[in-house]
Point group: C2
C-alpha cells in the first residue's frame, strides 16, 4: 500500500471520520473564493480548500511551473504528466501531516492557503477536450436489452467482445449544481403516426463514473495496459442525463445524439488514480477471454460505493433510489481507454470517458429510472404517496460515491442537478 494510506496517517486539519476529504484523498478541483479571486486550482482537505497557487508562492510545493495552478482548469497541471502528479500529491500530503510543522505552525501561510469550503464556489474542474460515453455494465445492458428485445436477445452479439461506446457532446458537460433544462426534441410514441416537437416526457439520469484523461496519445498508435493506466489522472461521478423518448426515435442507425446532448453533470472534485489505489479489486470474470489488445494483467476495477437520491419539490428529504458499486463494471476504464485508441484515435489531455450506467445484480442497484421503473411500467414511491417513473420539473437528483477505508473514506462529494421546465 502506498505511503499516503499508512494506518494512522492524519492531518493537522481536523477531518470528520465520515468526511469525503481526509488526507488520504486530496482530490483536485477549481474554485473561486467569494472575495472575487479568479477561478484556480485547489485541493480539498476536510472542510477546507487548499489554494495551491498561494501555497506554492514560497517555493514550498516543489512545482516549478506554478502558473498551472492559476489556471481555471486542471488541464495545464495534468499536461505535466504522472511523475509530477505523483510528486505533487506526495508533497501536499507531507505538508498536511499532523506531525509536520512547516504549514501547521505557520499561521500566515495557513491563513493564505486554506480557504473554508463554505466560502468558495466550485467550477468545472477541466476543459473537456472530448467526451466519450461507454456502456460497460453487463447488468445495465442486459436490463435494457430485456426491455426492448426480450430475454433471449438481451445482449447484442458484440457486447462481450469490446467496450461499446460512442462519442458524446463535450460542450454541455457542466459542474454539479448547474440547473438542467428539460430538453425539447422530436417525440414519436409508437401510437403516434407522425413525430411532434415537444418537451421530453421521459427524462432520466444515468449513474456513471467519469475517467479524466491527463496525458495525450498520438494519432495512429495503440496503447498498452501500462500506457493507458498512466494516462488516467483521476475520476469523477458523472450523470449522463438522457431523454429516453428523444433517444428512442432518433438513435437508429447512428446512436444517441440530441437525447444526450443537452447536459452531462460531473462532480467538482477529481479524485486521483493514486488515491483510489488501495481500493482496487478484480472485476467480473470476462468470458469469453478478451482479444489480446484488451487484456489486462492487474485488477482494474475499484470497490467504490455509489448512492443516488431523488428529491421531489414536495418532499423535504431525498429518497434513496439506488445503491450500487463501481466494482460491478464488466469492462474497466483501462480497457475502455485501450479500445478507444485501438484504431489509432488520438487521445487528448482533458478527455472525459463516461463508464456507462452502473447497475448491479440486485433490483435496488439499478442506475437509471429506465431500469428502476422498468420503462415506466413500475412507478416507485418516494415518500407519502409521491411517485415517479421519470424525472419531473423541480426534481433534484443527487449522486454520491466513496471508497471505505479503515477509519476514513476517499469520497467524491456529490453531483447534483435540478430539473427546470422547458422554455
Amino acid at each position: 500500500m502506498p505511503h499516503s494510506n499508512d494506518l494512522g496517517l492524519r492531518s493537522f486539519i481536523e477531518v470528520a471520520p465520515n468526511s469525503d476529504f481526509p488526507i488520504q484523498n486530496l482530490p483536485y478541483g477549481v474554485f473561486s473564493a467569494r472575495d472575487g479571486t479568479a477561478p484556480r486550482v485547489g485541493v480539498a482537505i476536510g472542510d477546507y480548500v487548499l489554494d495551491l497557487w498561494e501555497l506554492g508562492q514560497d517555493g514550498r510545493l516543489g512545482v516549478s511551473q506554478l502558473d498551472v495552478f492559476a489556471a481555471p482548469m486542471l488541464n495545464p497541471f495534468m499536461a505535466l504528466g504522472p511523475k509530477v502528479w505523483s510528486r505533487t500529491r506526495a508533497r501536499i500530503s507531507e505538508l498536511l501531516r499532523h506531525d509536520n510543522p512547516e504549514l501547521r505552525d505557520n499561521a500566515a501561510s495557513r491563513d493564505r492557503a486554506l480557504v473554508p469550503m463554505a466560502n468558495v464556489t466550485l467550477h468545472l474542474p477541466l476543459a473537456v477536450s472530448g467526451y466519450t460515453d461507454f456502456y460497460s455494465s453487463r447488468e445495465h445492458a442486459t436490463n435494457v436489452g430485456v426491455m426492448f428485445r426480450g430475454k433471449d436477445n438481451a445482449l447484442q452479439p458484440n457486447w462481450l467482445h469490446m467496450p461499446i461506446g460512442y462519442n458524446g457532446r463535450a460542450s454541455t458537460v457542466v459542474v454539479s449544481g448547474t440547473k438542467v433544462r428539460r430538453p425539447r426534441g422530436q417525440l414519436k410514441p409508437p401510437s403516434a403516426e407522425l413525430p411532434s416537437f415537444a418537451p421530453c416526457k421521459r427524462l432520466d439520469f444515468e449513474l456513471e463514473m467519469g475517467v479524466v484523461v491527463g496525458q495525450p496519445s498520438p494519432i495512429g498508435e495503440m496503447l498498452t495496459e501500462k500506457q493507458a493506466e498512466e494516462m488516467i489522472f483521476g475520476f469523477v461521478i458523472l450523470n449522463d442525463w438522457s431523454a429516453r423518448d428523444i433517444q428512442q426515435w432518433e438513435y437508429v442507425p447512428l446512436g444517441p445524439f440530441q437525447a444526450k446532448a443537452f447536459a452531462t453533470s460531473i462532480s467538482p472534485w477529481i479524485v486521483t488514480r493514486e488515491a483510489l489505489e488501495p481500493f482496487r479489486v478484480h472485476g467480473p470474470v470476462q468470458d469469453p477471454t478478451p482479444l489480446p489488445y484488451l487484456q489486462q494483467a492487474q485488477p482494474n476495477n475499484y470497490d467504490l460505493q455509489l448512492d443516488v437520491g431523488l428529491r421531489a419539490p414536495s418532499i423535504r428529504q431525498a429518497a434513496n433510489i439506488c445503491r450500487t458499486n463501481f466494482k460491478y463494471m464488466y469492462w474497466s476504464s483501462v480497457q475502455q481507454l485501450m479500445h478507444h485508441a485501438s484504431s489509432g484515435c488520438a487521445m487528448n489531455v482533458g478527455d472525459l470517458l463516461g463508464s456507462g450506467t452502473i447497475s448491479g445484480p440486485d433490483k435496488h442497484q439499478r442506475g437509471s429510472l429506465l431500469e428502476i421503473s422498468w420503462n415506466g411500467t413500475e412507478p416507485i414511491e418516494l415518500s407519502g404517496g409521491v411517485k415517479r417513473t421519470f424525472l419531473e420539473d423541480g426534481d433534484s437528483l443527487v449522486m454520491r460515491g466513496w471508497c471505505q477505508g479503515d477509519g476514513y473514506r476517499v469520497g467524491f462529494g456529490e453531483v447534483e442537478g435540478t430539473i427546470v421546465a422547458a422554455e
Copy 2:
C-alpha cells in the same frame, strides 16, 4: 448579388480563369512560410497567400484586434463575429482590386504581405472544438439502406423527419496531405464465429462538405434560421474516412465509434459563406414538410460541383471515380445546425459539422466506395486492369470542389490523403 461578385471585379494579381482563388473567393487558411515563420492566418489569392498579420501592420486592414491573425488557427478571428467577417472580407477585396493603388503600387507592402503559395505549408485551419457528422443525402442513405436492408425498408422511419447525425471524434481531424494509417480493429465477417483484431480490410472514403461554426450558442437555447445562418463562418471539403468492416461489427446500438475515429481529412482553405452567396439554390423538395423548428424561408443549398479522384500506386494519373454536387443534399447545413441545437446543446466557435456523404441520383455520383462498388460486389477498373473495391495501401484519394461563376470559379483547392499500411 453582393458587390464582391460584380461582373468584372478583378485583382491586380493575375489569376488564371480556372484558379480556385480569384478575388471573388478569398478563403481563409493557416500557413507557415518555408522561412520558418510560425503558422498564422492568410487568405488565398491566385498563386499567393495574403499574410493578414503583415498586411495589417500599418492599420490598413481596419481590424483592431490584429493578433487574431497571428494565431495558428482561425478561431480567434471567427470569435469576433459576422460583422467583422464581412467588413474584413470587403476590405481585403478592396485592397486587392485592380483599380486600387493602395497595395498594388506599394512594392514594400506587397512583398511583405504576398507569399507565393509554392513557398508555404498549409496547416489545419481551425482548432476543432466538436466534430459532428450528419447523414443527409437521401441518395446515400437510400443506397446504404437498399444494400443492408433491401429496397422496401431502405430509409429508416426517422430519416425524412430530421437530419440524422452523431458526434464524431474531433482529435483526429487532419489537414489535406496528412497520411492516413490503415486502422486496426475488431472484424467479424458473417462467416467468422468470433471476431479478430486485425487491419481493416474494407477501408473507404466519404465525400462530404464540412461547415465551420464561427459563433457560439448558449446551453439550453434553440436557434432560428437566421441565427443558425449567421453562425456559419464557412465551408471545407471533408473526407470522412471509414472502416466498413469495423463499423459493421461495432455500430449496434450506439453508432460508429472506432470505425471513424482514426482520421477525418479537411481541405486547408475555409471558403466563407459570403463567397458562396451567389451560388445558393433550392435543395430537393422536402416531403413531408419538416416540423416548424426545421423550416427554412430561403434556399440553403449550394450549387457546388464535387469531384473525387483515386490514384493507385501503379498508375500515374488519378482516375475520376465520382462527380456530384452539394446541391443534392436533402437536409441543408442550416437545418443541421438548427437540429443540433434543438435540445439546448451549446455550440462552440470551431465546431465542425460534416454534411454526410454526398451522393447524387446517378451512378457516377456516388460519394463512397461502399456505394461505388456496391458493398464490394462490383469492382471498378481505374486503368489498365487495376481494380478496386475498397482502398489499398499506397492509394491516394483526392477530392475537389468549386462553384462555377461567369468567368471565374470559387474553389476549395483539394483534400488529399494517402493510405499507409497498418503498423
